[in-house]
């Protein structure tokens, strides 16, 4: 190698090291997924850490071995062995088929267990009463309905801390995805479907909520604040919403569901009963009944799927997964 490329190599190494150090230092900041505020996000983080550790068992030695081999067996190092015909070893190949297989088996067992445990449709264990929020993705805003309280909001979500929240999610827009990273993973919002997602905020605070699946032109404006409050503040907030002059009617929903570029957070004191169910079933034929996609108990799911089967053959094709 001539002189010039070698100094180039050195410059490149130092540049990369510098950038990596900067990244690691900035890595100490609070990244939402790494800074969970609820039980689901916590378990998901545990799982992420387990995966990284298991992978590192292979990755770290591989990176070190790569460096050593490339350095030691460079052609200019005449002291190193040279065995051009050596190209097979049963022992070595067994080792590197074996170790990844063992690691993947371990990871697979953990994953399968967690997949069942963290099934988003499963209710969270808690001695406190569950809150239900119905979520509708519209172009380009989120509509939140609180069926128990009869109030609604757009682009802002308030939930009581330390109480499980059951989100029922649908879309009156192209397929979207509903995500509050600090509380837990996302689930798709799809028309003609009601998806269940159970989350909980362990402490009061303001969290970031966002849309994660592209729905068209002003998709970027579909984020919202999640306020987790004490029970008392929650009650107070409900009263505040109830006194809002804004209401949702079937007609005003029609207006609301039309595309708008950007919506400010708004409270609504009422909405027509059953509007969520009507939104979900709006695209089905023959008034097929609402079916919950992945509801709390297996029995319920089957029953719902059966209803769907009975009503519409086409719909059933989407539920073969159960």
């Amino acid at each position: 190698m001539s002189k010039k490329p070698r100094s180039l190599v050195r410059a490149a190494f130092s540049a990369v090291t510098l950038v990596m150090t900067m990244l690691l230092l900035s890595g100490c900041g609070n990244y939402m997924v790494l800074d969970p505020k609820g039980p689901i996000a916590e378990k998901q983080l545990d799982l992420i850490i387990i995966t990284v550790i298991l992978c590192s068992i292979i990755i770290v030695p591989v990176l070190i071995i790569t460096f050593i081999i490339v350095w030691r067996y460079r052609a200019t190092n005449k002291k190193a062995d040279y065995k051009p015909e050596w190209a097979h070893s049963n022992l070595l190949e067994t080792i590197w088929w074996g170790i990844p297989i063992v690691i993947i088996i371990v990871l697979a067992v953990i994953t399968v267990r967690y997949t069942h445990e963290l099934e988003p449709a499963k209710a969270l264990a808690s001695d406190k009463e569950e809150v239900t929020v119905q979520v509708v993705s519209l172009n380009w805003k989120w509509l939140f309905l609180y069926p128990e309280e009869g109030i609604a909001t757009v682009n802002t979500l308030t939930i009581p801390e330390d109480r499980p929240v059951r989100f029922e999610i649908t879309a009156d827009s192209p397929m979207n995805s509903f995500w509050i990273p600090e509380l837990g993973g996302q689930i798709y919002a799809m028309s003609g479907m009601s998806m269940a997602l159970h989350l909980q905020a362990d402490e009061p605070g303001t969290y970031f909520g966002t849309a994660a699946n592209f729905t068209g032109e002003h998709f970027e404006n579909m984020n919202f604040q999640v306020n987790a409050t004490s029970d008392a503040e929650y009650e107070q907030w409900i009263q505040e919403a109830k006194s809002s002059p804004n209401t949702i009617t079937d007609e005003s929903y029609e207006e609301m569901s039309k595309p708008t570029e950007k919506e400010e957070p708004t409270l609504y004191s009422s909405f027509p009963e059953g509007i969520y169910e009507r939104i979900v079933t709006k695209y089905m034929h023959d008034g097929a009944e609402l079916h919950q996609h992945g509801s709390a108990s297996a029995d319920e799911t089957d029953a719902a799927a059966d209803t769907a089967n009975a009503n519409s053959e086409e719909d059933s094709s989407a539920h073969k997964g159960h």
């Binding site: 292979i58 490339v70 988003p120 094709s317």
Partner: protein, 657 residues
């Protein structure tokens, strides 16, 4: 009348954006420039006879690679524009709708019109030479495949200035890509651009399978094939099972959009989830289709530049075959969050993890090919070595994504974006660059300048990490893909860093262009045909290879036949016993390939705008071409006489055969 024309033109041409006017002007100027140069130097005949109508696999390969580099430029400009917007979202460099078009075309161009043609380019140039064949099994079909790809690519790129680009993401999920939410012609360009080039890809897959199965030199059993050929075989097999799914999916989407069918609509009994399943049943195998040949390239370069046999050949073959089979059983990991239920998610999570095993084994085998070797570091080897850490880290984030419940936190975030760019650039792009540098002397008879190549290499690598490492972090901080503005000030710094990386990669690309330009005028000539002291048959013939490739087909005895032959000669043993030169049977050039491509383009353009008066004659033209070919196929062959072969060989080898 004039008003009508005005109105038509304002919808037909994309208007209003100065960036697009700039592009319009440069496209017109470049076209005029090309036409002028060709006319001035009287090169039209040369272009038509020697290139456009050729059925020679080497020339078709070069045309593929040329087109791929142009598309890499286009896709790269898209990327740099997106990164500019994201570094300074407040400046509104791109409006939301323009941004949405650009991320859509970036994805489509990079996968369909950059990675695929670069891959087919390498297939074409290398496979026949590596297995000791004179061309591919179906040379005319090969030309047709290229022209279908080219027609599709041009049709898709035209949407930039005519009619408007698609803007529903690179996989165009309905209902967003349906007429309800996307009434313009952009999605039609998407469908027909992909459909036409997809037929070409399928034909190429068949062509290379047959070539590899039927046209290997005598003595080259399957288990003596060079590893790149094995990777082409694995990728082509995957193509013939995966691409029909894409064709049908695009056809159904077309029926929805054109005839108002309800396969994927919300109402009328349609189901958008079916599209998402179908497109990923193609889409997941597709990523293995493009990465397997890169694995093949690394297997060649690592053995050549470590001057050692490839370690664990049988393991390598087995790993590759396993990867291409399992790749068909992992598609649902692209939508764990669609609510398929725990059992379905668990199944697809486990199948996805399983792929990590054979991939890991391949890494170990490459490492132990270098172990006790004598490693030199010309550019192809540098790309090979850089691939290992890039792919290992990308593989780890891939395993992280495969853990279904954790994926709920990564899905559609920048963590995912960083992951797939890391494996696609670190795996596919690095691999194809390694291949391009490695076989460049075989294509053109000279080596690319190493000094500029090393600059390009380091800039690419630095840019790559600076661009994508921050994206993992910003993804963990909740930033989702496909947004052109963001409100969280914490994301700004990481996005600026990522943009700097993108610009460094852009600079690296310019270095490569400069490298090619410089090397055309000042270069080291490849006089021996074996400039790397390599191991496989393609290096036993002169560079560039004569049109018939091998004057006499050699008899193969071992895996690294050319290396063994050199060893035998060095030991003073008898060299290859090559038989006498006989007249060589060759395919004739055919104009039907480019003409049929042009008809497909016309038909596609008509279907995009729902102009049946244009689409129907276009499709008729396609059928006329098929008939013409059927009735002229028997005249499409000729023999090269022995004297001519002897003359050529004497010239190329300086007298000695």
């Amino acid at each position: 009348m004039l008003d009508n024309i005005k109105e038509f033109a304002s919808e037909f041409f994309v208007t209003g954006d100065p960036l697009i006017y700039g592009a319009d002007v440069s496209i017109v100027l470049a076209t005029l420039g090309i036409v002028f140069v060709l006319t001035y130097f009287k090169k039209w005949g040369w272009l038509w006879r020697d290139w456009l109508t050729t059925v020679d696999h080497k020339k078709i390969g070069i045309m593929y690679i040329l087109a791929a580099i142009v598309m890499l430029f286009r896709g790269g400009v898209d990327a740099v524009m997106m990164r500019t917007q994201l570094a300074f979202p407040d400046l509104n460099f791109l409006e939301a709708d323009h941004y949405n078009q650009i991320f859509t075309t970036h994805g489509v161009v990079m996968i369909f019109f950059m990675a695929m043609p670069l891959m087919f380019g390498l297939f074409n140039i290398v496979v026949p030479l590596q297995i000791g064949a004179r061309d591919v099994a179906f040379p005319f079909l090969n030309s047709l495949s290229f022209w279908l790809f080219f027609a599709g690519a041009m049709l898709f790129n035209l949407s930039f200035v005519i009619g408007g680009s698609p803007d529903a993401g690179w996989l165009a999920y309905p209902p967003l890509s349906g007429t309800q939410f996307n009434p313009g012609v952009g999605q039609n360009f998407y469908i027909w651009g992909i459909q036409i080039s997809g037929i070409g890809s399928l034909a190429s897959g068949i062509n290379f399978i047959v070539t590899i199965l039927k046209m290997r030199a005598p003595g080259m059993t399957m288990m003596k094939m060079p590893m790149f050929t094995w990777s082409v075989f694995a990728a082509s097999t995957t193509i013939i099972f995966a691409f029909p799914i894409l064709t049908i999916t695009m056809l159904l989407l077309f029926l929805d959009r054109f005839f108002g069918a309800h396969f994927f609509t919300l109402d009328g009994g349609g189901n958008p989830m079916m599209y998402i399943n179908l497109i990923w049943m193609w889409g997941h195998p597709e990523v293995y289709i493009v990465v397997l040949p890169a694995f093949g390239v690394f297997s060649e370069t690592v053995a050549t530049f470590a001057r050692k046999r490839l370690f664990g050949y049988a393991s390598m073959v087995f790993a590759m075959v396993i990867i291409s089979i399992i790749s068909f059983f992992t598609w649902a990991h692209h939508f764990f969050t669609m609510g398929s239920g725990a059992n379905v998610n668990a199944f697809f999570a486990v199948t996805t993890m399983i792929i990590a095993i054979p991939t890991g084994v391949k890494i170990f085998n490459w490492l132990f090919t270098m172990y006790k070797g004598r490693i030199t570091f010309p550019t192809p080897m540098m790309w090979t070595i850089a691939f290992i850490p890039a792919f290992v880290v990308g593989g780890m984030t891939g395993v992280m994504l495969s853990v279904a419940p954790a994926d709920f936190q990564f899905h559609n975030s920048y963590f995912l974006i960083a992951h797939f760019h890391q494996v696609l650039i670190g795996g596919v792009v690095f691999g194809y660059f390694a291949g391009l540098y490695y076989w460049w002397p075989k294509m053109f008879g000279f080596k690319l300048n190493e000094y500029l190549g090393k600059w390009a290499f380091w800039l690419w690598n630095i840019g790559f990490y600076v661009c994508f490492m921050p994206q993992y972090l910003v993804g963990l901080d909740g930033m989702t893909r496909r947004i052109s503005v963001f409100s969280d000030p914490d994301w700004q710094g990481l996005n600026v860093a990522s943009t700097i990386g993108a610009y460094i990669m852009g600079l690296a690309f310019l270095f490569q262009v400069a490298q090619i330009g410089y090397s055309i005028f000042r270069h080291e000539k490849d006089t021996t045909g074996d400039i790397w002291d390599a191991r496989t048959l393609e290096f036993s013939i002169p560079s560039p290879a004569p049109e018939y490739n091998f004057a006499v087909i050699p008899q193969v005895h071992s895996r690294d036949e050319w290396w063994e032959e050199k060893e035998r000669r060095a030991r003073g043993e008898k060299p290859w016993q090559l038989g006498p030169i006989e007249p060589i049977h060759m395919p004739k050039n055919s104009a039907i390939g480019p003409i049929m491509g042009a008809f497909w383009f016309i038909a596609g353009f008509g279907l995009v705008f729902h102009w049946l008066w244009m689409a129907i004659p276009g499709l008729l033209g396609v059928f006329v071409c098929m008939f013409a070919r059927s009735f002229s196929a028997h005249k499409a062959e000729y023999y090269i006489p022995v004297e001519e072969i002897e003359r050529t060989e004497a010239k190329l080898r300086g007298g000695a055969v």
